[in-house]
Each structure stands twice: as C-alpha cells, then as structure tokens.
C-alpha cells in the first residue's frame, strides 16, 4: 500500500456524549479505488464515526487525513469541499421538493438550478444507470430510487470518497444486487467507497477491505478473500451469531384469526388492501414478507381496529370482530408489537411502569375498577424487567434512557403479559442488537409452543424464514403468494415482493 493510494486515514478518533463514549481510539485506513466495509453491531459506534468523517459531529480526539493531508472537518461543507460525500441510512431528502431541487440544494453554484443542472443530472444518471428524472417529486420515488438519488447527489458534488451508511437495510435482494453493481462501477472509476453494514454476506460479496468495530472502537481488519462469516461474526460480537431457527411444528387445528376478503380504501378511494384473506391457527407463526409500504402497516392497523375495512370480515376465534375498536380487541387478547416503538409503543418520557400500563389500562394488574392500580402495575413491571432481562436502572427510569433493544424487550414483555391469544409482531427486532434479537426470538418461539398465534411482519427475510410456519408475500395491498419457509430462499421471496420473476 503506497501513500498516494490512501484516500482517508483516521487516527485515534474519540467522541464522547454526556454519559456515553461513542468512539475511542478508532483507526481506519481507506484506499482509493476500493470498497471498504466497516462492520459492527448496532451501537458499536459506526454511525457516529461516519458523522465525524462527514463533519456533522466534531471529534474530541484524533486526526483525519484525506489524500495524505490532515484536515479539520467542522461542517458538512468542509467535508464536501474535501471530496467526502455521504449517503445516510435515513435518507436526507425533502419529499416535497423535486429530484432536481434535492440534487442542487447547497451546490447551486456548480451548475445553477436550471437546465444546466438538469443536463448534469442526466449525465450522471446515464453514466451509472440510475434512471433519474429531474422534475419528479421525491415523494413519488421508491426506496431504491431514493437511494440512487442520494448517491447521485454525492457524485454531483464531485465526491471521490463516498460513505454509505447501511445502504442495504431498506432494499430487497434484487435491489441490493443493483446497488452493488453501481458501487463496483464507482470503485472502478477510482472512487473510495466506505460501506457500513452488519450483514456479513453482503460485506463478503462487495468489500475489498474490512474493518470491524465493537463497543466504539476498531477491533481488527480482515481480508474478505480469506476470512469467513464465522470469523467476522466472532470479531463483531465475540461469539457466533444466533440464528432464528424454529423447532418442530406446533401448529394446531384451531383457527385463531381469520381475514376474509378484507378490502380497505383510503380517503380518495384508492385501495390500500385488496381482498386480503388469511388465517392463523393456534401455535402458528404466519410471516408477511413485502417491501415496506405495500400495505403491511394498513393490514396491522385493520386487524388492530385502528382502521375499519370497507369490505370483508375479520374473526378472532369464532367472534366477528370486524367493527370492534382497539381497546375491545386488546381486552380480547391481542398483543401488539408496533413497528415504530417510539411513535406507537412507548411514552419515551414516562417511567417504565407507566409504559407497562399502556394498552392494558383496563386490565389487571394495572387497574382496579375505574382506578389505576399503581402498586400492581409497578410489581408487574418489576416482573417483566426480571423475566425479559430488560436492562434498566429501575422501573422509575424513563423509557428514553433505555437502548433500543431493552425498550423492545419491555414492549415484548408487556404484550406477552395477560396470556394473549394472538400476537401481532411488526418488525420485532428492527434496530436492536444481536443479544436482544436472540432473546426476542426465544420469547416468540416459547409463546408459539404454548399455543399463541403470531402474525409476524418483518423486513428481515432471514428472520421471516427462520421463525415462520408459513410465509405470505404482500404486494400493493394484495397477498400474492404463499411460501413454505423450509424450502424458500431469500431470492424467491425478493422476486415475489417486487412482483418480478425469480432471479
């Protein structure tokens, strides 16, 4: 490795937030013309490090050199000026602006904001096969298109060092392949690509160099040609990754939930769900696969009584619950792990024991007649904290102070309380670390053995395949296929999810 070929060199980077050390002693060397993967668990400090490299956060210690020259990146403007571009995990796009407007924002001086910019966008788009239309509103774009727009934005600014923060988290397998093709072209054009991920298959597929982070620091590097997934996993977590494998079937003959031809329309008469029929038996986990935004959220909200279907019936056991409202459904024994725990599952600034009451405010042990049973709720919260291994200083801690995994374990514990007959789990392990993930899988499997019917919605295809007894694919509000998890591959599912042929 010669000195000229080093694009970025980080030495001894440290960053502290109040009460947390996000990064310490981070060393990272990225060569030009390579794809460099940075891997590590959630909370290992990858994102903070990237924000430092992009000038969003200022490091407390350490030095950054770009192309052999030490630089101070105080703002993203400094980073852009040094040829660093970043594609954030949560896209940094304004939905209500056009592709062109998002692209030229902050870089108006390069090619203006009119036809010259339009031509430049077309040029970049054609060069890398992005297929971007300058005058379309971003809200009309799908996830993969948005990501290509983000990459194009970086290129538009002339970046030679491109950071991608978990770019594959939102993509289906076919889209991942397309992204990797784009990345290889970028690499061949002489750019340095920093690829952040915790998906080891993908990393081994695309990377030229690998650096592993754990607990805020870099713990080692690996060569993707000689290393194995197992070795990477051990570097990342210190132990082999758990996998969500089901044991023998526990499916019974008793049907717990039936949807018959459920159709749901929005206020403008467009169908969000069309003729959805499914049934879940006791002891069965039904997985729903689909690209986000194809009706999963609406399906869950319909079952939970948050939306009333325009046509079709919903039965819980033998009872027709189509027009029941949410509280009655919950009292009838539906547990619900919402997809966004911050928006729907928790009051972040309320203590744990108050969060325990949420959604169960009419039931024992939380209520005594019309009054809240404070001591009952507190005692039961203590039980959940112990049984579900929620790591918290105490039950009076605000939910915000917990890590994502511990927040999720609290929700799982709460929803499993009071012996539910049906559990709706929407992305139950999204954004939680490997340890919490394994624990949550264990809880779902145990409940299944005890005869719980589970509707599992997830973007993690391995999770779906590993846990489910049956998998159905949802596409544009319709269930378009049923798969047996024992024989299906992620590629098959991906093809069905996008409505294409199997790759």
């Amino acid at each position: 490795m010669t000195q000229e070929s080093v694009a970025v060199e980080l030495r001894g980077i440290g960053k502290r937030f109040p009460g947390v050390i996000a990064n310490h002693d981070v060393d990272l060397t990225i060569r030009a013309g390579t794809v460099h993967a940075l891997i590590g668990e959630n909370g290992a400090g990858k994102s903070t490090l990237m924000k430092i490299l992009y000038g969003v956060q200022k490091p407390d210690d350490g030095t950054i050199s770009i192309n052999g020259r030490e630089v101070a990146l105080r703002t993203p403007t400094d980073a852009i000026a040094n040829g660093v571009g970043m594609v954030f995990q949560h896209f940094m796009l304004a939905d209500n602006l056009t592709v062109l407007e998002n692209m030229v924002l902050g870089a108006e001086k390069l090619h203006g904001i009119g036809d010259r910019a339009r031509a430049e966008i077309r040029r970049i788009s054609d060069a890398f096969g992005f297929g971007l239309q300058p005058d379309v509103l971003v809200e009309k774009l799908g996830v993969a298109d948005r990501q290509r727009l983000e990459i194009a934005k970086v290129l538009y600014r002339g970046a030679r060092i491109i950071i991608l923060d978990e770019p594959t988290a939102v993509l289906v397998p076919q889209e991942v392949d397309a992204l990797f093709a784009n990345l290889r072209e970028l690499r061949n054009a002489g750019n340095a690509v920093l690829f952040i991920s915790h998906k080891l298959d993908e990393v081994l597929d695309i990377a030229d160099d690998i650096t592993v982070m754990r607990r805020g620091t870099t713990v080692g590097t690996a060569d993707p040609r000689t290393t194995t997934k197992r070795e990477l996993a051990e570097l990342m977590v210190g132990s082999e990754l758990p996998s969500p494998e089901t044991e023998e079937s526990t499916v019974t003959d008793t049907v717990q939930l039936t949807l018959a031809d459920v159709t749901l329309a929005d206020e403008f008469g467009r169908n969000l769900l069309t003729d959805v029929s499914l049934s879940i038996r006791r002891g069965e986990i039904l997985g729903i696969a689909g690209v986000e935004g194809n009706g999963q959220a609406e399906l869950v909200e319909t079952i939970m009584g948050m939306r009333i279907p325009g046509a079709g019936r919903i039965h819980l056991g033998t009872e027709d619950v189509t027009h029941w409202h949410t509280r009655k459904l919950r009292e009838a024994g539906i547990g619900y792990i919402p997809e966004d725990r911050h928006r729907h599952g928790l009051l972040l600034d309320a203590p744990l024991w108050e969060n325990r009451i949420l959604g169960h405010q009419t039931q024992a042990p939380n209520a005594k007649g019309p009054w809240i049973n404070r001591s009952g709720a507190r005692k039961d919260t203590q039980r959940i904290v112990t049984e579900y291994d929620v790591r918290a200083p105490g039950i009076d801690t605000p939910a915000r102070a917990l890590s994502g995994g511990n927040q999720q374990k609290l929700i799982v514990g709460r929803e499993m309380s009071g012996d539910p007959v049906l559990l709706i789990a929407s992305h139950p392990t999204r954004g939680v670390d490997v340890g919490a993930q394994a624990a949550i899988w264990d809880h779902i499997k145990r409940a299944r053995r005890a005869g719980l019917a589970v509707l599992l919605i997830s973007a993690d295809l391995d999770e779906l395949i590993g846990l489910s007894d049956t998998i159905q694919v949802i596409l544009r509000g319709r269930l378009v296929g049923t798969f047996d998890p024992a024989s299906v591959t992620p590629q098959d599912l991906g093809a069905a999810m996008t409505g294409g042929e199997a790759a």
Binding site: S47, M50, K51, Y54, V56, Q57, T75, P76, T77, I80, M86, F88, Q89, H90, F91, M92, L93, A94, D95, N96, L97, T98, E101, N102, V104, L105, G106, A107, E108, K109, G112, I113, G129, G131, Q133, D135, V136, K140, L141, G142, A144, D145, K153, D165, Q174, E175, D177, A178, A181, F268, G269, V291, A495, T498, G499, G500, E501, A503
Partner: protein
C-alpha cells in the same frame, strides 16, 4: 436489473394543467358572482366601488399572509404576525410624520415589523421556544408596545392623541390610466353578464388605486419568484422541508431561518403600514383587528403557495368589503356561497367522493333555504357573515393541504443522520 422504477409523466404538462386549473377556477368564480348579481339584481356585488374597497381590504391580509408564507416555508410558524403588523402601524405613522414621506413611513413599518420578527427568530430559532408560545408573546408585546409608544410619541403632535395620529400624507394614488380607466368603467356600468364584472375589476385596478396596493401585488409575485426560482429560495424552502438534509448539504439552516423570519416580520409590518396610511385616515391603536390571523388563515387555505394565498386573501377581502357596503349585498352573499357550495358538491359527486359531497350539500342547502326565506340578513349577523361564509368556502373547498414537512418543528444543529 429488476428494480422498480416509477415512470412519471412529463412534469411540465402537469404544471401547465395546474395553471390552467387556476385560470378555470378564477373564471368560474367570476361567472358565478356575475350570475348571482343578475339573479338578485344586486349590481353593487361587483361595482367598481366594491372591488376598490375589496382591494383595500385585501392588501393588509395579503401582506400578513405573505409574511406567514416566508416564515413557514423556512419551517417557522409565525402567529406573531398580528403583533408585527401592529408594530408596523405605529412605525408607519411615526416615520411618516417625522420624515414627511409616506414611503419612508412604509420602510419604518417594515423595520418595526422586522424587530418583531427578530424577537420571534431569537426565541424560536436560537432558543428553541415553541413557535406558538413565542408568537402569542409577540402579539401581546406588539399591542402593549404600540399602545405605550403611541401615548409617548403622538400625544402632543398635531393631529395626534394618546391613541391616534391622523392627517398623515398618503402614498401616491394613481387617479386614472388614460384609455383604460374610462372605457372599463363605462363597460362596467352596462351590467352585462361576465364582461361588466371583469371590466369592473380592470376599472378598480386602474382608477384611484394606491401605488402601495400595486407594490403589494408585485411583492406577491416577487416572493413567489424568489422562493421558487432562485437558489436562495430553494435553500430557504429546504429548511422548512427537511432542515437535517439541508444541513448535510452545507446549508446554514439557522441563518436562513433568521432571514426568513425577518422578511416575514417586514412583510407583516408593511401590511400594518398599509392599514395606517391607505386603508384608514391615520394611525389608531389596535388597528389590525385580527387581520394578522386572517392572513395566516388565507395562507394556510392557499396551501402555502403565493397563488393560493392571493386567492384566499381576495376572498376574505371581498366579503369583508361587501359587509361595509349594504345589507342587501350581504344577503346576496348567502346565495353566492350556496351556489359555490353546491358547485363543489357536484364536483365531488363527479369524483365519487360521496362523504365530501354530503358535507358540502348540507350547508349549501341550508344557506339556500335561508336566502330564499328571508329578505335581509339581521344586522347582528352582517358583521360576521363574511367571515363565517369565507371560512365555509375555504375550509370545505380546500382539499389535501400540504404544509412544509418540518413546519413548526424544533431544529438543532448536528441532529442530522
């Protein structure tokens, strides 16, 4: 690649369609008004005098709305517009009196409004105070400060008192434009269907109109151009849509928010200046009388866009001016609104929005019955009828409002990613 790519239609065609739609709506509105005028035999409904009064009533609302547009496009909710307007009324009077020039007075109004805006910007942008709380505080401060300042500075002046200052010079008035004013007025007097109504409008715009009104209309166009056609405007709007994204692209979000709120205050201040110098015979305390809020409402109904805001302000201004003309006109207004509601009902039935159609049909029918069964609107109602009916039309007629995505949300630097 088996990626899902959306295939959008040519956007320019959509934009042209939207423009044609606006023109269609405007012409339709004129036709409806014209029809009602002929049916009820209320020629005052579109007389030159009514339109002139409507323009004067519209201008302050328009400026308040424009102020709201600037701030909210940058993501700051400015309900302090009312207070900034009040400050503007005093500023206009004070600077006009001491300089002798109403234009200096208007600049003074803008300056005072800007001070109100600066307070709001410091509170909301720098200190992250809730925008509504800060806005309410500025409204209270505005009223209190002008009352105090008026008493302190106007009491001993000629034409002044503790609560007023009259006899100020006014901005230039364009008396007539030769060739247009006269013929348009003649045409308006013929009371023909549609043509005379349009002629009235032309006559009002070219005869005895304050230059400041024209400046205000120009400011609407200029604001639209700056916000949507310049890179400055793009950056400003990006702060209202996704400030984190703007930050990652090197936009100084705080700076743009400050600039936007200062301009917002200046606009509201000019609106206050118009009230003091053009719309009435001089300054008096609490002259704004809620116009700041109405401007904000017009902007919201106008979907945070200059064209829509202009339409909203014109509707408010028009109904407000009718109230001041005669009760017969207000009575005709009932039919006008009934017809408008029924027209929207039909539109919704065609689009198969049955619930929406019913929501429009019921008040429409009620107003029609009211109109047919009475000869006049009770005096107690006349003062509020315009507002109630305007609210009806705008609230029910507007669909799918789209506010800037990050409007009113706190933003902290370094929160991106």
């Amino acid at each position: 690649m088996t990626t899902t790519t959306t295939t959008p239609g040519p956007v320019t065609r959509v934009r042209n369609a939207a423009r044609a739609n606006w023109l269609f709506i405007a012409l339709g509105a004129v036709a409806v008004v014209s029809l009602v005028r002929i049916v009820t035999d209320t020629n005052d409904l579109t007389s030159v005098g009514t339109i002139r009064a409507a323009i004067i009533a519209t201008c302050p609302i328009l400026m308040a709305g424009l102020g709201g547009l600037w701030a909210e496009r940058a993501g700051v909710v400015n309900i302090g517009l009312e207070g900034q307007m009040v400050l503007g009324t005093w500023g206009a009077a004070f600077f006009t009196y001491h300089s002798g020039s109403p234009w200096v007075g208007i600049l003074g109004a803008a300056l005072l409004g800007m001070i109100g805006g600066l307070l709001h910007a410091i509170a909301t942008v720098t200190f992250g105070v809730d925008h509504i709380v800060s806005g309410v505080a500025i409204n209270l401060i505005g009223v209190g400060a002008t009352t105090y300042l008026a008493e302190a500075t106007f009491t001993d002046l000629e034409g002044g008192g503790p609560r007023q200052l009259i006899g100020l010079p006014t901005p230039t008035t364009i008396d007539r434009i030769p060739g247009i004013s006269g013929s348009a007025a003649d045409l308006a007097d013929k009371h023909w269907f549609f043509i005379s109504d349009v002629a009235s409008f032309v006559a009002a715009l070219t005869t005895k109109i304050s230059l400041l009104s024209l400046v205000i209309f120009a400011l609407v166009v200029a604001s639209g151009w700056i916000l949507w056609k310049t890179s400055f405007g793009l950056r400003l709007r990006s702060c209202g849509e996704n400030p984190q994204a703007a930050e990652t692209l090197g936009v100084n979000v705080y700076l743009y928010k400050y600039v936007a709120v200062l301009i917002s205050g200046a606009m509201a201040g000019i609106g206050g200046g118009f009230l003091a110098l053009v719309a009435s015979s001089g300054f008096s305390t609490n002259q704004t009388n809620g116009r700041g809020y109405i401007g904000l409402a017009a902007m919201i109904f106008g979907n945070w866009r200059p064209g829509g805001l202009l339409a909203g302000a014109l509707t408010f201004g028009y109904t407000d001016s009718l109230r001041l003309r005669d009760t017969h006109a207000v009575h005709s207004l009932l039919l006008l609104v009934a017809v408008a509601l029924i027209a929207i009902t039909v539109l919704r039935v065609v689009r198969r929005q049955i619930a929406g159609a019913v929501a429009m049909a019921v008040p429409g029918a009620a107003l029609l019955v009211w109109f047919l069964s009475t000869d006049s609107v009770p005096r107690d109602f006349t003062s509020m009828t315009p507002y109630v009916t305007t609210l009806f039309v705008l609230a029910l007629g507007t669909q799918r409002l789209r506010m800037p995505a990050a409007d009113g949300r706190p933003y902290r630097k370094g929160s991106a990613g």
